[in-house]
């Protein structure tokens, strides 16, 4: 016997369904889909309007998740938000955007002490404009600061000690990157950002970081927990990365989100190559640093690695 569900019951049941699937990379909702919301930089200031940042982020996530953020996370998650703060204040995710994500999670019911914004070191976070908080506040924010597993674990070619935040503490991860060129990897967006989860990234830069970036993503700690990639493309950088190089930046004016981490990077590749072409620079392929790891990650079944196959959705 079947029955119709009331409007009150339906969201609850759909929510329970989402809980049962516990999305991670292994359960990408819409492979190849990247949602992009407009968010122009503030004239003369790096600081973003908080309301505009929150609205843009929310609409990008909604567009890619097929619903509110509750489709990706649940209230009892401990969510680690890995930001890429290597580029300092000039080329790191805007704190206003990261805080907007934390607010969305709080709105879902995730308590502040289980929302952890992190990177390799507290010092790098501070340089990028984040306030270190190990207790209290609207979310926690601190570096890994050498708190790694005591033994290495292997995934493909990598053998690394993972941050205990990732292996032990968090049940869900967000890679919150930027859109920038990388001297060796080609692109540093959502996936290269994951090098900050392991203790020995310096060992894995040969051959344009391939297959190593894909191997980090394919590790069960990451593959099983990464629910979302957000890319701060308010200002992007098409050359000279990973360090901030102002003359190679341009106001891309967007925030992008995807549940397909490979597609998010493939989108970033497309965007960077387009700007390089506009400036008369060689493509990343011709510059001998194509992000080869995308094809490897796609071969692992982790997402869509072909930039031409990525579907950009305006949020």
């Amino acid at each position: 016997m079947s029955r119709e569900f009331s409007r009150r019951e339906l969201p609850l049941i759909l929510g329970l369904g989402a809980l049962a699937t516990r999305p991670g990379v292994a359960a990408v909702r819409e492979p190849g889909r990247v949602a992009v919301a407009k968010l122009p930089p503030s004239p003369g200031s790096r600081t973003l309007d908080r309301a505009a940042a929150g609205a843009a982020l929310s609409s990008a996530i909604t567009a890619v998740a097929g619903g509110p953020i509750g489709a990706l996370f649940r209230p009892d998650d401990t969510v680690g938000i890995k930001v890429n703060s290597l580029g300092g204040a000039g080329m790191s995710p805007h704190p206003e955007l990261v805080e907007a994500l934390a607010a969305l999670l709080r709105g879902l019911g995730v308590p502040p002490q289980r929302i952890i914004v992190f990177d390799r070191s507290s010092r790098e976070l501070q340089r990028a404009g984040f306030t270190i908080r190990r207790d209290g506040g609207a979310y926690l924010c601190h570096g890994i600061d050498n708190d790694y597993d005591s033994e290495p674990s292997t995934s493909g070619e990598i053998g690394s000690c993972f941050a205990r935040l990732v292996s032990t503490t968090c049940t869900a991860l967000v890679s919150f990157g930027v859109v920038k060129d990388h001297d060796l990897a080609g692109v540093s967006a959502g996936l290269k950002n994951l090098y900050g989860l392991i203790h020995n990234p310096n060992k894995y830069h040969d051959h344009n970081c391939d297959p190593y970036v894909a191997d980090v993503l394919n590790h069960p700690y990451v593959r099983g927990k990464l629910r979302l990639v957000v890319l701060d493309g308010v200002v992007a950088q098409c050359h000279g990365g990973p360090a901030w190089r102002p003359d190679a930046t341009w106001p891309l004016g967007v925030v992008a989100a995807s549940t397909d981490p490979v597609a998010a990077d493939a989108w970033a590749w497309r965007v960077i190559d387009a700007e390089r072409a506009r400036r008369g620079l060689a493509s990343l392929e011709d510059a001998k640093r194509p992000p080869r790891f995308l094809a490897t990650a796609a071969r692992y079944g982790l997402g869509v690695g072909d930039p031409a196959a990525v579907k950009e959705v305006l949020a």
Binding site: R123, N146, D183, H199, N200, N202, H205, G241, A243
Partner: protein, 379 residues
């Protein structure tokens, strides 16, 4: 093995070189107080000695054969050298994460001052990644991930001299990555009458090696295998540059010993051991000691058993049959393969158990029976 306590080190440190403070900024170099504990991100930085500048603020490291090309804000594969706005800096000059006094036999050197102590030091980092690394907890980490103490070259040399330790030894992790520290420590030791030794993988560019060899009494090189396959798959390095380094060391007159860690099924075939022994005899000479040592499962290679002793004995016999005068067995305490025997008359010259010398019959570096000169650093 004894460990210098912190008080001793700090006391000596105070008598050592004066601290030099420089402001920290993009590209600025900083030096912490001598003896201070270093942890986290506050690393001293000193311009590296072997690199060249490339366009757009990039640099090319000329220290090891990897030849890393490093963009601004990035590090080389060793993890201890960083490009700071076009200046390549070493982050481990004086940043000692391990300091111990060891018997020289532990390195192992069997032909260098038998029974002598060596003030042994290391920093974090390595330029390869052996899947069987015994010291991965320091070699495979970045300097800011390992607790360390600032002990500049003059301090190490002074600590050794003051405590009557005749040797300094750069060891444990990979001295190539802290080569400026090795160079300056060896020079400081020489001024104070303390000799220096280095325990290395030999994966180094020729010029950098030649720049430091004159201040070294001895080098021990891990020849990890005699196949490029092994170096590629298990070491993430290359064999050819190591063979070249061995030739350079031998030609320099600095005393050389070789260690070959035999890993079951990977580099222990009769053919490979024979080829290696023949190459050593033909290229370096039969007087170079070659230590075949026992592998124990560790780090990322835990699925293999320890090397069977008969495998080591077979290698030892092959090396002798191929004309090597001083083959040894290692990590097999009490085995006759640890002893030094006169290649002329067969007299047992030095009897050892593990790192301990039980008997040394050498007289002025010669066999007491047949007076044959035994090569090494004996006095």
């Amino acid at each position: 093995m004894s460990e210098l306590d912190r008080r001793t080190l700090l006391t000596a440190a105070c008598a050592g070189a004066a601290a030099c403070f420089l402001p920290r900024a993009a590209g600025a170099l900083v030096t912490p107080p001598v003896g201070s504990v270093i942890s986290g991100e506050e690393l001293p930085a000193r311009e590296a000695s072997w690199y060249k500048r490339l366009p757009e603020g990039r640099v090319e490291c000329q220290l090891c054969p990897r030849g890393c090309q490093v963009a601004d804000a990035e590090r080389g594969g060793c993890g201890v050298r960083e490009n700071r706005a076009g200046t390549y800096v070493t982050l481990v000059h004086g940043v000692a994460c391990s300091v111990h006094v060891d018997p020289i036999e532990k390195k192992p050197f069997f032909h260098v001052l038998p029974g002598a102590q060596a003030l042994s030091y290391a920093t974090a980092g390595c330029n390869v990644e052996c899947k069987f690394c015994q010291n991965w907890e320091i070699s495979q980490f970045r300097p800011e991930q390992v607790r360390a103490q600032y002990l500049p070259p003059e301090t190490l040399a002074e600590v050794a001299r003051r405590n009557g330790v005749p040797l300094l030894s750069a060891t444990y992790s990979e001295p190539v990555v802290f080569w400026e520290y090795v160079r300056d420590t060896a020079a400081a030791g020489r001024r104070l009458g303390v000799r220096s030794t280095v325990v290395s993988n030999g994966y180094i560019q020729e010029q950098a090696l030649k720049d430091v060899l004159p201040n070294l009494a001895a080098m021990k090189v891990d020849l990890k295998a005699f196949s490029e396959r092994f170096y590629k798959e298990l070491v993430r390095g290359e064999l050819k540059p190591v063979l070249k380094a061995l030739e350079v060391i031998r030609a320099s007159g600095t005393w050389l010993e070789i260690v070959v860690l035999l890993v079951p099924g990977q580099n222990d075939s009769e053919g490979e051991v024979r080829d290696l022994s023949r190459w050593v005899k033909r290229t370096l000479g039969g007087d170079v000691p070659v230590h075949f040592t026992r592998f124990h499962p560790t780090y990322r290679l835990t699925n293999l058993p320890a090397t069977p002793i008969p495998t080591l004995e077979r290698a030892w016999q092959i090396a002798k049959a191929e004309g090597l005068a001083f083959p040894y067995m290692g990590n097999v305490p009490g085995h006759p393969g640890e002893n030094t025997t006169c290649p002329g008359c067969g007299t047992q010259l030095i009897r050892r158990v593990g790192f301990q010398v039980l008997e040394n019959a050498l007289k002025g570096g010669r066999c007491p029976q047949c007076s044959r000169e035994i090569p090494g650093v004996w006095s």
